[in-house]
Subunit: 376 residues, 4 copies
């Protein structure tokens, strides 16, 4: 079986998640390639070595450039902070590596476009970590839509709201700076729901946006008495139009009190409606308007082995799927994509398309008018 | 005790609701005036007489003009189709009657403005039937916001979605024609959620709207094989800005499969969040961000006797409030307003302000840009 | 149209509820008789007169014996404290009046049996105020079961839990004394869920019970420093067997923290399941096992005009039903029963059957073994 | 670091679950021992070899006796069918191995007692796979109870209902035979909820039970036209008394239409209530009666990093925990127990105590009276 040798850069929040998924994927799925945890890079050799032990990687380095150049690496997995994605990906591509990058692909659509071009030119494969669409429950949503069970989609409502910056006393960090994060809630959170909208409904072709920095200053973590300016939006909204004609609405916030994992969607069709919230990630609500009026209602489907990709985790319905399990599906796609040529999606092109939408929302908010998404 | 003699015009869907509320109000509440069901008007004398018997009115007439001119009437209650509101109200005002009108106040903001002017000139009192804000649960929401329990409001999300026209085989009716209904889902449904937004958060000052007629033709009820054009929108959305600075989003639809009474709102503040859906009209969800992280969560409040206006219906919490009970609170406000000078709100001015927002959403949708609400 | 002249005794919590229902019933329903609010009795003539004005009764008295003997009364409505039900009902029956009594019918099955005998001997009609089964949503549940939509019932789980005595500092009152209340939570609350079990599944034929007085003493309301003994149970449970063979479980508590109106049931059949909680009184959850595994799930039905008795309140689905609306359906049954001979149920016999079950649970709890319900 | 060398017997449903947990545990948790997947046994050498490859075990065998005797094994993990647990465990203990057995520990309490004695005599450590109590959410429930946040526990309601045998056309299998399964729903499902009751509330000391075989015959899988007798119960219920005085109720069913993972509990205390369902395994509902009446309500806690064991999976709250993650916590306990002497619980003694309760329920159901749990 063909080997897929991974080089992982970054071991913070999402890097750990990747590591857990790498650990369980070969037991969960019958992979089409042999997954090899070859090398891990962190900011110092010491930290890299420690994490390599924890995460089961064979080698480690304090220099990511060494990793992307290493001949024993097939795919570079980028879990470093957002502002580094572009540089790392371009360098990895230069060395002919496949690239698996966390979202957002880049700080803006222009950067993302460069990355798409580079990957295309070099002929490497790409994958972006929009893990929520890998959830069996959201795969089921897509299946239901694709089957026509809710008719033609006429409306999409989507959110990605969290409250990690709701407290104004929370010190400023990299999320709040343009140079390190680009957009605020749009880039960090809405990227997921835009991808989900594309996955479930199709391309977004026009937007009218609004955004706001509610908490304009935050404490300096070094000197909490000193307040520093927040440089990007805490919350944003947009009206959407899809290529197929459907209307839509999108909301995102990092100060939405009470939302811990507030990715939600409601997809309304001519014959039915789907409703989902990621905080109950194993449930999908389905309404069919063609049932008799006296027996109409939203039905709560619990994800189970008759639905996509669930049976690999457990053969009984309703037993539950966790956050890392989504990433495990993503790793399966990565390994099968590289080893056996299976489709790898969302790829860099999708990452770029998401960035185009996010940038358009921000631009529309400034211009106070609708903008069409320019993807030429 | 001062009498409040009512003349009711129209006994369809909402007229019946008024009748039930009139029947129970004096038993539920210690009213400040004596409610007298004086006269009822319908399209024929026969129907009027029959309904007067059913609804407990003393007299009846087949001519509404006779009712509004009758000296024994103190207040005219207009439950006739929307396109008649203006004419009836102006005529009633001309005779010096107080006017209690169902929503929407008129087919557009210009008509509503005329009605406001007439009432103001004549010095009569007015009330508009935005009954959902009379629900004790929504009164509680306002109380929580006013107390500062969720801090400063930073975001409002509101919907009024139903599915009464979701089936394309449903024949065309007056809702679908500009001459009889004015706007579509905006006028029929969104009027409620705009009023609720005003009630909970404050005035809406700018909008960016979108709208769509999804089902462009419907069967002629007389000849189902013949299709007639639908003249107004099936669904609409808008981004909002409030006077206090908060952002907002509004959605409305009459083809939203599965929504039977889909008036919902989420009000996010700097310290907490409220969430509500009218389909569970006796529940309000409250989240407080100032609780310790390990015990944070949305709390489901069941409306009870410690909350506004509930105890009059039942002195035990959680026993439930029905649709007609909201209207009964409204009737209490009507009687106490006319008999004792208590505040009557939402009045015609609020009805006009709601119309201004709805018209602006429709205009913005055409112009593809933000519009400020012009209320001069 | 035949008159139905009512004499109401008692105007506390439930007396007010009756009054509201009397007020709205003729407007809500096309009654088969003319409802006349003839006379009202309270403990003093002054209070009686005041309540008669508030509730719209023509005459009043400070002596209930006068009311039950009055020739202008057709039906006596007993809303007095439980320990008076028997005496009042027997006296009313002696005068040939129909009797409408609140639950529990009596303090025990022996008393209830006497009442049944007296009513039968005199040929008067009876009705007991088990209002929760009049809710359109629970009527829908029965319809679904009767249709065979969930197959044969194999299990019933029912509760009536509240928390009105959860705080040990709440002073003792009549609920806690055997002489005034008989049983505790069983008599006050479980009476409803036993009636509901009979309504939905059929007769209960055997029980194994348990019960407990958790808070053994409570403050004297006159002298809170002094503690008085609680004489009946705070919570009770029972295993059940139904005549049709189904198993069941029943729970009741007046100290169940958080339950404000915790009447709930789950009815499991061979082909499906129904689930209901009175705190969401307009919703019924229905599961059908004959759907394909990948689309199985509990469907939330919102009660609407296609369901029993809802359309009289509102012709749109999902608009909600309130606590007093249930009683209004009961009043409709009372009037149509007396004026037109329609079936009046639950009658005294059902009230007695409920008492038999409650007594058997208490006896079983003492004897630590199963008891068959003796109804000879 | 000390090695913990595992020998796994059985690779069906639950064996796969163990394998996934073994795979991810060292990455998720900083284990106190080195986990070594040493050997795997299945019914044939070929199947064993295939599974060893899939699950990452070093060696394999078609004879479990060889595994339990192998000197390179520290702990034997028994995932074989229930009727084999006893023989395998006793044999493993005889060879001085620690034993990790799936539930139920044995087919009855007498067998379980033998196993406890053997382990005690040999001084080996034991663990039973009651994985649901390892869920961070249920650990949080215990923490809240232990903190006194809901006061003294006065009532426990628990279920473990599923519907895997709801369809009478489902052929008979080992679950339905006394020789292979012992009890029916009680042994297969209720074992979990009894363990949970012990974990959350304490020892059960008396029971009154009921049980029923609803579907008395099922098709022979070899010849579906032929019906074979079902030998154990489809559903069972029990009233409970706990050592601390609390009352309780337990329900279990394998024919409960609609329940896919219906382990649920409601724990009522003198000051509050907890409510949980495993189908929403990342949510716990908490009610506090000491809040002001106008702000009382059930609060939905989403499990997060401030709660036990969650942070190892993800450092953001509300991101979700899956079925296999519970087992991963159990594996952590196994490794740390064997390598570092950390407490391993539920051990065989708890497995035996659970069996005592289940046997007592069955015996009580036959004798139609309460039975005290005999644990001498």
């Amino acid at each position: 079986m063909k080997q897929v040798r991974v080089g992982l850069i970054g071991t913070g929040y999402i890097g750990r998640c990747h590591a857990i998924a790498y650990a369980q994927a070969p037991t969960v799925f019958p992979l089409k390639g042999e997954l090899v945890l070859e090398m891990l890079a962190e900011v110092t050799p010491e930290l890299a070595a420690q994490r390599a032990t924890e995460f089961g990687f064979a080698r480690s380095t304090g220099d990511w450039r060494q990793l992307v150049a290493d001949p024993a690496i097939d795919v570079v997995d980028i879990c470093a902070p957002n502002f580094l994605h572009k540089e790392m990906a371009l360098e990895a591509i230069r060395h002919g590596k496949h690239v698996y990058s966390e979202k957002p692909l880049a700080l803006g659509a222009a950067d993302a476009a460069e990355m798409v071009q580079a990957a295309r030119a070099k002929g490497v494969k790409t994958l972006v970590g929009f893990n929520y669409m890998k959830n069996p429950t959201s795969q089921l949503a897509r299946e239901i839509i694709a089957n026509g069970e809710i008719g033609e989609v006429v409306h999409f409502y989507g959110t990605h709201n969290e409250d990690y910056l709701a407290d104004p006393r929370t010190p400023i960090d990299w999320h709040c700076r343009r140079a390190s994060a680009g957009l605020g809630a749009l880039g960090d959170l809405a990227a997921h729901i835009v991808n989900m909208a594309h996955y479930l409904v199709g391309d977004i072709v026009a937007v009218s946006g609004d955004m706001q920095t509610v908490i304009k200053q935050r404490p300096d973590p070094q000197d909490p008495a000193r307040l520093l300016p927040v440089e990007n939006e805490d919350q944003a909204s947009a009206l959407l139009r899809f290529a197929g004609g459907a209307m839509g609405t999108l909301e995102t916030s990092r100060i939405a009190c009470g939302r811990k994992m507030g990715l939600t969607y409601v997809v309304t069709g001519t014959k039915g409606t789907l409703s989902y919230t990621q905080e109950r990630m194993a449930e999908l609500k389905l309404y069919r308007h063609d049932e008799p009026a006296e027996r109409q209602g939203f039905k709560t489907l619990l994800v189970g082995p008759k639905h996509p990709d669930y049976a690999a985790f457990c053969i009984s319905a309703g037993h539950g799927i966790g956050f890392n399990d989504q990433k495990t599906v993503e790793i399966r796609d990565l390994v099968n994509g590289i080893a056996a040529g299976d489709r790898m999606w969302p790829d860099f092109e999708e990452g770029w398309k998401v960035s185009c939408v996010l940038d358009a929302i921000a631009a529309s908010a400034e211009q106070r008018r609708w903008l069409e998404i320019n993807r030429d």
